[in-house]
C-alpha cells in the first residue's frame, strides 16, 4: 500500500492563516468527566473563526465559528453556503440519497418545507400531548418506586422513539428494535456498525414506503408518498431521504436535551425545588436549559467565496455551526455561564434561517411534559452517590449514562 506523506494528508489549505489553526475539544471520540460545556468559555476568548483538523465527523478539517451572530449569517446565507453533505450517511452504504430537507438547498428545500410544515404545527403537536404524557408516565411508573433509575436507558432514549413511531404509523412494539438501530447508527463510533444499521434502517423504510403506496394512511410516511412537490411526487431516493431525516431528526436530539436538563436539576436542588413547586415556570426554564446546554453541531459547505468576521472562506471549505458555542456567546447572552431560569433567551438550540428545526413545537412539548411528569412523580433526586458523569463531546454533547437516585 502506497504510503502517503503525513504532511500531505494533514496539509492545511494555503488560504488558512496558520495562527488560526487551533485545537478544539468537541471532536468525535472525545469524552470528558468534567462538565461538558465547561470548555466553551475559553473558546470565546479566542478568535471568532478558526480552523480545526478533522473537526467534521472526525474525517475532514473545518472552520469553527464561535459567534452566534456569525453563525446566524451563515445559516441565512444560501447564496454562499450549501447544506449538502452535512450528514454523509448514504455514502456509507454506496447510495446517493440526501437527508431531506436537512441537506437540501433552495429551491427544493422550500418546496419540501411547504409540504412538511403543516405536519408539525403547534395545533397538530398539541393533539399529541395526551400520548406524550402517557408515554412519559409509563416510563416514570416503571422506576418511581425503586428510588433509582438510569435516566437515559430507562427513559430518555425510548421516550422520543415512541412518539416518532406514533407519527410514522409504525407499530409501538418496534420501539426496542428502533432503539437498537439508533444506537448503532448514532451512538457507536464504529463504521461497520453504522453501515450495517444504515442498511437495515433504509431497507425497513423502503418496505414501509411500499406498504404506504399500496395502503395509504394518515401518517408521515403516507404523507411523503403522496406529497406533491413542484407538481410531482417524490421519487424513491427522496422518500428514503425524507424518512431517514425524520427518523434521526427527533431522537438523539431530544434524549440528549432531556439528559442534560435533568443532570442540571440533579445538581441544582434549588432549581429543582423551584420548578417542582412552580410547574408553570417549566417552559421558561426549558428555554434557558436549551440555551445553556445546547448540544447539536451542524455545518454548511461554502459554495461561493466570502468572509466571516474578516476570515476568507473559500468554496469547498466546511464550516461548523455549533449551537453550544452560540448558546454561551457572551455577545448574545450576558453572563452566559449562569443558568438563569427566567432569562427568556433568544433560542439558538434549533438553528436559524430556513433550515430551522421543523420539530420545534414537538420538541418543546416532549421536554416540557417529561419535566412536568417527572417532577410531579419523583421527589428530590440527585446523581447516584460516588458517580462521576462521563459525557461525549461529539457529535452531540451527551452524558453516557445518568444514574439518578431519590428517597422512596
Amino acid at each position: 500500500m502506497e504510503r502517503i506523506a503525513e504532511s500531505v494528508i494533514r496539509s492545511i489549505p494555503s488560504h488558512v492563516p496558520s495562527e488560526l489553526v487551533r485545537p478544539f475539544p468537541y471532536l468525535i471520540g472525545q469524552k470528558t468527566k468534567a462538565q461538558p460545556h465547561s470548555f466553551i468559555a475559553a473558546i470565546h476568548e479566542g478568535p471568532a473563526v478558526f480552523w480545526v483538523e478533522k473537526a467534521f465527523h472526525g474525517v475532514s478539517d473545518a472552520w469553527v465559528l464561535r459567534r452566534g451572530e456569525d453563525m446566524r449569517k451563515v445559516y441565512a446565507d444560501t447564496e454562499h453556503f450549501s447544506a449538502r453533505g452535512i450528514a454523509p450517511l448514504s455514502s456509507l452504504i454506496g447510495e446517493t440519497w440526501q437527508l431531506l430537507p436537512a441537506e437540501a438547498d433552495p429551491p427544493l428545500h422550500s418546496l419540501l418545507r411547504v409540504a412538511m410544515n403543516p405536519l408539525f404545527t403547534p395545533k397538530r403537536m398539541t393533539a399529541l400531548e395526551e400520548q406524550i404524557r402517557r408515554y412519559a408516565r409509563e416510563y416514570i411508573d416503571s422506576f418511581r418506586n425503586r428510588g433509582a433509575c438510569e435516566f437515559l436507558g430507562e427513559f430518555a432514549f425510548e421516550f422520543p422513539i415512541r412518539i416518532f413511531l406514533e407519527m410514522m404509523g409504525m407499530p409501538q412494539d418496534h420501539a426496542a428494535e428502533f432503539l437498537a438501530w439508533e444506537h448503532e447508527l448514532l451512538h457507536e463510533a464504529n463504521l461497520e456498525k453504522m453501515k450495517k444499521a444504515t442498511r437495515t434502517v433504509v431497507a425497513y423504510l423502503r418496505e414501509q414506503i411500499e406498504d404506504r403506496r399500496a395502503n395509504p394512511r394518515d401518517d408521515l410516511i403516507s404523507f411523503g408518498v403522496q406529497a406533491e412537490i413542484d407538481g410531482r411526487r417524490l421519487n424513491d431516493e427522496e422518500l428514503v431521504g425524507l424518512c431517514f431525516n425524520l427518523f434521526i431528526g427527533g431522537l438523539d436530539t431530544v434524549s440528549t436535551a432531556l439528559a442534560l436538563h435533568f443532570r442540571h436539576l440533579a445538581e441544582r436542588h434549588d432549581h429543582q425545588r423551584l420548578l417542582r413547586e412552580n410547574p408553570d415556570k417549566i417552559p421558561a426554564a426549558i428555554e434557558e436549559f436549551m440555551r445553556a446546554y445546547a448540544a447539536v453541531q451542524t455545518s454548511r459547505i461554502c459554495i461561493k467565496e466570502t468572509s466571516v468576521s474578516g476570515v476568507t472562506i473559500k468554496p469547498g471549505d466546511r464550516v461548523l455551526l455549533s449551537t453550544y458555542l452560540a448558546g454561551r456567546d457572551p455577545e448574545t447572552y450576558p453572563n452566559p455561564e449562569e443558568v438563569i431560569l427566567d432569562r427568556n433567551p433568544r433560542q439558538c438550540a434549533f438553528g436559524y434561517g430556513p433550515h430551522l428545526c421543523v420539530g420545534i413545537h414537538l420538541a418543546r412539548r416532549e421536554l416540557r411534559i417529561a419535566m412536568e411528569e417527572f417532577l410531579a412523580a419523583i421527589p428530590e433526586f440527585s446523581i447516584a452517590p460516588g458517580v462521576e458523569i462521563t459525557s461525549y463531546l461529539a457529535s452531540i454533547i451527551r452524558p453516557v449514562e445518568l444514574p439518578l437516585v431519590w428517597q422512596i
Binding site: A76, P118, L356, I360
Partner: protein, 107 residues
C-alpha cells in the same frame, strides 16, 4: 413611513412610527413588542412571528404565499380576522394606521 399599533392579548397597546422597507417583524423586535419571537430570523421557517390582522386590511397587507401558509393554515383566528407571518410583510405607507393583534401563543 407608517404608524403601526401592536395590541397584546391582555389589551395593552403600543404605537410606533416605522420606516418603510423593514418587515413588520423587524419593526416589532426593534421596538420591543413582546412575543414576536421570530426564531428563524425572518426566513418563514418557524411560524413564531404570527400576527392577527382585521379582514379590512387584507388588500393592503397582502395574502400569504405557500411557504407562509404551510406554517399558519391551521391556526384558528377570530371571525373577521386573518393571520400572517410578520416577517413576510414589508412596511410601506399603505400600512399607515394598521392595528396588529399579537396572538396569545407563538408555539
Amino acid at each position: 413611513m407608517a404608524r403601526i399599533t401592536w395590541v397584546q392579548p391582555e389589551g395593552n397597546a403600543q404605537t410606533h412610527d416605522v420606516v418603510s422597507g423593514v418587515s413588520l417583524m423587524q419593526a416589532a423586535r426593534v421596538n420591543g413588542v413582546a412575543d414576536i419571537v421570530a426564531e428563524c430570523g425572518g426566513s418563514s421557517a418557524c411560524g413564531t412571528c404570527k400576527v392577527i390582522v382585521s379582514d379590512d386590511w387584507s388588500t393592503r397587507v397582502g395574502v400569504p404565499g405557500p411557504l407562509e401558509r404551510s406554517l399558519i393554515a391551521d391556526y384558528d383566528v377570530a371571525e373577521g380576522h386573518f393571520l400572517r407571518l410578520s416577517c413576510q410583510i414589508t412596511v410601506t405607507e399603505l400600512l399607515d394606521g394598521l392595528v396588529i393583534l399579537v396572538p396569545p401563543s407563538q408555539t
